[in-house]
Subunit: 361 residues, 2 copies
């Protein structure tokens, strides 16, 4: 399969991953880590997944503090392929800035935006979906990939899939985006067969995205285009941009205006939000007794235990008589919890911040 | 209170403390550790408890590999106060060797043997009991201290207390020693009020001990006296000594022969066999929520958890949503278990040995 002419992959690399502490830190967020045991970090896997489509047309948008780490992990990138945000201003600013830069750089560009910290198990199926999305984006649709739900999650937003778009294979109109529902509502969605998870994957011509933004937030779009025209104004204009997600700023109103398409997709996808999700991901296809291990299995000794052990400090970790335990060992901090309580790890991070120990967060 | 003339404190310092791994190691057994958070190790506390009675008449019997560590912890000891066993040969050999050496050194000696790794909460009450035991030992009794049972333990042997000994305040004859009973039997013992725990604390004139040993194991007693007479023969004779506990070799048959007395005592006593016992010890008198901490409490962050945390590697330990958990953090090994499963830690040590990782045990 060949690459796609004028296709640009935009990789927003942000988010602290607080619930993955102490592995993920503000100084080294989730996307910089190998969470699949593949030997590649989430950021590197995201790049690997997109390179066959985009070749070297890859733009990473990340926070200024992570610029060097991103370049160190993606050695094939040119330095000007990493756009550093002076401060985090949510996803519309990050993706909009990339769009404004690409609009000037390549008038025929179609961009696809894919978060740096997602896991996709079948890259070929992913790329097939992107190809279909690009075809629809060339017809001026704002296109989202609709992930096939595997359970009635209340943690994701949903896309309500409408009628197929004539002449655009595998693409349908979007009726609406719906916010994270209750589990009961999610079960009803799944029963209809016409709802998909919204994974925040958008494929669109940069000009279309900015023009849509201009409809509802004209000053926002103007500011982004002003920065692209005159990059020296970044520091001045960036702090004036609204902090808003691309979903709220553009995707939802554009769907109501009949401008959004969805490519329903069936590749396995994970947003590894916490250690419970990570344990699920790593235990897939493993029938062995004992906890799953992210790292060197010879460093873990288990007696009658299950769960997840991350021995990343080079020390032996012994677990005796605990079910669904989570042990994450790092050189300066250790976490012990259970899969069921994994969400509450953020309380530890909050306590560390409150206690003035930010260097550990 | 003054010291006791000719009283010699013998401290057998042996035992690996396998169930306290990874804190306790064969290279640094239990008695070398501060398990009470007092700032003093169990060995140092044992010495501190005995020094008011024995002054500098203290003899530590330990394995050759631990001789230097013992001297480093007990800086007030003369080098010849530490007797190094060439290899472990159980308690009769260790205590008998000390007896044979003292028999030659001080014909009026009364020795008291107290393990280096026990915890005694009321040292003054302990010393009162020893004083009474010494008075009986001067009358040629083999005297044991009988610990008041606090629950029907099946982990300790018991002493059956007989009639008071006329003229020896607080001392009674021993009817018999009984091996570790079932919990039901232990309950029956406690109901009678005439059974005490056998903590292996013996007070006796060295000559009486060796003469008793000679009755049942004449060659054993002869060999010990030969070593004392000619220390150069230690390496030759030591490997010939039977591996037997002092209880079986002497105390039990001597009790049957009506030669053993008991001083029933009420000082709080603990043999910290595992992390469950350690948690019990440390939580005494603590009403705070959260796990008990052996070490610096500021290194432990707890969310809705109880149990025991030992942060001895200088790293932050966070525990979230686990009841009765045990987390022991050391620089090269980490243990996570529960109080209920703490006994099974020895399986980890066995697995490490099997895997050729003896340096971690």
């Amino acid at each position: 399969m060949s690459s796609i002419d004028h296709f640009w992959a935009v990789i927003p690399a942000g988010g602290a991953g607080t619930r993955l502490w102490p592995l993920s830190r503000s100084s080294a967020p989730k996307f910089l880590h190998d969470l699949s045991g593949s030997g590649r970090t989430l950021l590197q896997e995201t790049r690997d997944r997109l390179a066959p489509l985009a070749e070297d047309r890859i733009v990473v948008v990340t926070g200024e503090p992570h610029r060097e780490a991103v370049l160190a992990q993606l050695t094939e990138l040119a330095a000007d392929s990493v756009v550093a945000e002076p401060a985090p201003r949510d996803s519309m600013a990050a993706i909009g800035l990339a769009a404004a830069l690409l609009e000037r750089r390549d008038p025929d560009a179609v961009m696809g935006s894919f978060a740096a910290d997602h896991v996709v198990a079948d890259p070929e199926a992913f790329r097939d979906a992107v190809r279909r999305a690009v075809a629809a984006a060339r017809e001026d649709w704002l296109v989202t990939l609709g992930i096939e739900p595997t359970f009635p999650s209340s943690a994701f937003g949903y896309v309500h899939v409408g009628d197929p778009l004539p002449g655009l294979e595998g693409a349908s109109a979007v009726r609406e985006f719906v916010e994270k529902p209750s589990v009961a509502t999610a079960e009803a969605y799944l029963a209809t067969g016409s709802y998909r998870w919204n994974a925040g994957m958008f494929v669109v011509r940069p000009t279309v995205l900015l023009d849509l933004l201009h409809q509802w937030h004209p000053e926002f779009a103007d500011a982004l285009r002003a920065i692209a025209a005159e990059p020296a104004r970044l520091a001045e204009l960036w702090p004036t941009l609204p902090k808003i997600a691309v979903d709220h700023a553009v995707a939802e109103p554009a769907a109501d205006a009949g401008r959004v398409a969805v490519v329903p997709s069936s590749f396995p996808w994970e947003d590894i939000g916490d250690f419970d999700a990570l344990a699920t991901l790593l235990s897939r296809g493993q029938d062995e007794a004992g906890p799953v291990v992210l790292g060197d299995p010879s460093m873990v000794l288990s007696v009658d235990s299950t769960g997840l052990v991350v021995p990343s400090a080079g020390r032996v970790v012994a677990v005796v008589g605990l079910d669904d335990v989570v042990v994450v060992d790092t050189p300066d901090a250790l976490l012990v919890t259970t899969r069921a309580r994994a969400q509450e790890v953020k309380q530890v991070v909050a306590a560390l911040k409150d206690g003035g120990r930010d260097q550990l967060t």
